[in-house]
């Protein structure tokens, strides 16, 4: 793949079924990790069940690779379905959930869903809910100079958009003559931990804030993976070729609350997977039995993965001082 050959895949029936598969994988992984938290296999859970309808298409539409020819991902911690859709091994999420020494993303140092995958330009996810809106400027600036159609995208929640970094991102990516290929993504679930958005936002269409910067923007139903696919593809196409920012809001559900801190109990909100399965059946793309088989397949594999992870070593004293400093030559 080169800088000029990227085209979004055609949304075929096969791909629609594959999207369902990845959505189920994302949900089953998150639900297992919630059970891990409750059964002593992890200290703290935070994730994004309910956002699969948007996050899976996002992952599948990502130009995956290393270096400025490819997309840089500045994710927040609700992005498991995106990373799994890109091909991440679910067992590695379980490792981070359990804080094992084998956790490839942080060696047991960070919360679950805090990825760092250099081969795919996924820069380290951090528990801050806003800094990614500033770091995305830097990778996009490098890409703007480099040329090609690689872009940088950043994900965040509606609550995090209250931070100044959200405005910093829009301001820096629209400097006259210095516009940047940034896709600014906001997941609107209408809560910031426990605080309803109606108490903190005068307009739930956060993408409309981009109007003040002249940034093209849109809002999509993130519970609809087909609509999300088309909205993301259109936004990415604009950013890739116009080399200018785009702001896309996805209205999503938050099915298990904020994190362990709010109990991680199931909320009565629209479920993107259930809605999508009804559609697949309605359109004769899958049967109920086939859908159940997808769930069974992933749950069985995840159970086997957990058995393996439970026996893996935990970090100890010998790990503490590793990676304080980088000792090799500079250059990511």
């Amino acid at each position: 793949m080169t800088a000029t050959t990227w085209k979004a895949p055609k949304l075929t029936d096969t791909l629609k079924i594959a999207i369902h598969d990845k959505m189920v994988l994302g949900r089953a992984t998150e639900e297992l990790m919630i059970r891990m938290m409750r059964t002593g296999h992890g200290y703290f859970w935070i994730g994004g069940p309910g956002e699969e309808g948007f996050n899976v298409p996002l992952g599948l539409l990502t130009k995956k690779g290393h270096g400025p020819d490819f997309d840089y991902l500045h994710l927040h911690y609700r992005s498991s379905a995106t990373v799994l859709a890109m091909g991440a091994e679910p067992i590695n999420l379980l490792r981070q959930m359990r804080s094992t020494a084998t956790d490839p993303y942080s060696k047991g140092r960070n919360f679950v869903n805090h990825f760092a995958i250099k081969a795919w330009n996924i820069v380290p996810v951090t528990p801050t809910i806003e800094t990614q809106y500033t770091t995305v400027i830097g990778t996009a600036l490098v890409q703007q100079r480099h040329g090609g159609d690689g872009l940088s995208y950043v994900t965040g929640g509606d609550a995090g958009s209250a931070e100044g970094d959200f405005w910093t991102c829009m301001n820096w990516s629209t400097r006259p003559g210095r516009e940047l290929p940034v896709l600014i993504l906001v997941a609107q679930n209408e809560f910031g931990i426990s605080t309803p958005a109606t108490q903190t936002q005068n307009n739930l269409r956060l993408n409309e804030r981009a109007n003040g910067f002249g940034i093209r923007n849109a809002c999509v139903d993130g519970n609809d993976p087909i609509a999300s696919w088309h909205a993301i593809a259109e936004a990415m196409d604009y950013v890739r070729h116009e080399r200018k920012p785009f702001c896309l809001q996805a209205n999503v559900s938050r099915l298990y609350g904020h994190s362990s801190s709010s109990g991680a109990n199931r909320y009565d909100e629209p479920d993107c997977i259930g809605l999508y399965e009804q559609r697949l059946i309605r359109e004769n793309l899958m049967t109920q039995a086939e859908i159940q088989a997808v769930w069974d397949k992933h749950n069985a594999q995840l159970s086997a993965d957990l058995q393996k992870v439970a026996a893996e070593p935990m970090p100890g004293k010998e790990h503490v001082l590793q990676h304080v400093w980088h000792e090799g030559p500079a250059g990511n």
């Binding site: 270096g67 400025p68 840089y72 500045h74 956790d103 490839p104 993303y105 942080s106 060696k107 140092r109 960070n110 805090h114 760092a116 995958i117 250099k118 820069v123 380290p124 951090t126 801050t128 800094t131 809106y133 500033t134 770091t135 995305v136 400027i137 830097g138 990778t139 996009a140 600036l141 490098v142 890409q143 940088s152 100044g164 970094d165 910093t168 301001n171 820096w172 400097r175 590793q322 990676h323 304080v324 400093w325 980088h326 000792e327 090799g328 030559p329 500079a330 250059g331 990511n332």
Partner: protein, 351 residues
């Protein structure tokens, strides 16, 4: 001889032509000004940012993620406080990602008092910075060290904070930077932008050469046997001057220029204290949780039985700011007389 601002400029020029520096940026860093102290004047990779410290640090981190080598500037350290969480992020990326990513960036910022800077152009930052893990911190006291430290910082694969003592920015060095013209007037005509319209001006860079001051290596600025003074930045020349005064009284003081705040050169400090039996740490940061307290604690751990008298710290008073009227600065930040008096007292104190 180059002054400190010119030395920084020469180092950045060497960095962008030999060490892969891709971006030198910050508020007013690019043309036409080239930095409020002119330390970035004429550089080919220098550019101006919005007045937005968070954008500056985040962008630097992003550039580093994408394989670039950024040198960012916060115009005065007093304005760095709204990016502390981003500094924390820069410092913890390597550890938190288990080595998957690292952060080769340099952050420059002027520090300290001495220019009638008032409440927001006079702070020190090294003590605060030393609490942000994952960063190396350097502070030169002369142009040649500034050049050598900055080249080492640029090549380091970890984030390095380069603190420039603003009161020394126009101080000329005692030694030439390798490749620097011997005649300072010649250097001036080559690299200093003219006053007024400079839209067509281009620098004529001298062929400066590779010269490194290793990070973590202090320098004995003056040898002596009666007292060890550990200091850095603006307090270094004051300390050397005081030591020369005391030498005329027969008091022979050793002055160590730390140059690197973190990780600091404990072996050099320890060896000196073992020789003199006395330790005075001098800096202009406020005294509570001052980095000098850490130096003293490490000496207590490593060389306690070599001490003949209790070690001391001469630092700024613990007040909310450096006031504009000279009386405030004079009585809250160590001055030449304070340095001299503290050195004399500790060197002559009964063991």
């Amino acid at each position: 001889m180059a002054n400190l601002a010119q030395a920084i400029r020469l180092a950045l020029h060497y960095g962008e032509t030999h060490l892969g520096v891709t971006d030198v940026f910050g508020e007013d860093v690019g043309a036409p000004l080239g930095g409020v102290f002119t330390a970035t004047q004429g550089l080919k990779t220098a550019w101006n940012t919005p007045l937005d410290e968070r954008g500056i640090i985040g962008t630097a981190l992003g550039i580093a993620y994408a394989g670039g080598k950024p040198v960012a500037e916060i115009q005065f350290c007093d304005y760095i406080y709204n990016v502390i969480d981003l500094l924390k992020l820069c410092g913890n990326v390597t550890w938190s990602s288990a080595g998957e990513y690292h952060v080769p960036l340099v952050l420059m910022t002027p520090v300290g008092s001495g220019i009638h800077g008032s409440m927001y152009h006079s702070h020190s930052f090294e003590s605060m910075a030393s609490h942000i893990q994952g960063w190396k911190i350097v502070m030169p006291s002369n142009p040649k060290d500034a050049y050598g430290l900055l080249l080492s910082a640029i090549e380091d694969p970890n984030p390095v904070l380069f603190l420039a003592p603003k009161a020394l920015m126009r101080q000329k060095g005692a030694e030439l930077i390798p490749g620097e013209p011997a005649d300072e007037r010649t250097l001036h005509t080559m690299i200093d932008a003219p006053l007024g319209d400079r839209s067509d001006w281009q620098p004529n860079w001298p062929p400066v050469e590779d010269y490194r001051v290793p990070i973590g290596q202090a320098k004995i600025a003056r040898e002596g046997s009666a007292l060890t003074v550990v200091t850095y930045g603006r307090m270094l020349p004051l300390s050397v001057n005081a030591a020369e005064t005391l030498a005329k009284e027969g008091i022979d003081v050793e002055v160590i220029d730390l140059r690197t705040i973190y990780p600091f050169d404990l072996p050099t400090v320890k060896a000196s204290v073992e020789k003199t039996g006395r330790l005075l740490v001098i800096n202009e940061d406020t005294e509570v949780t001052n980095f000098g307290e850490h130096v003293i604690r490490k000496v207590m751990d490593e060389a306690f039985y070599s001490l003949e008298v209790k070690p001391e710290l001469l630092a700024g008073l613990d007040v909310p700011g450096v006031g504009l009227a000279w009386g405030y600065e004079q009585h809250s930040v160590p001055q030449a007389d304070d340095v001299l008096a503290a050195m004399r007292r500790l060197a002559t104190q009964q063991a």
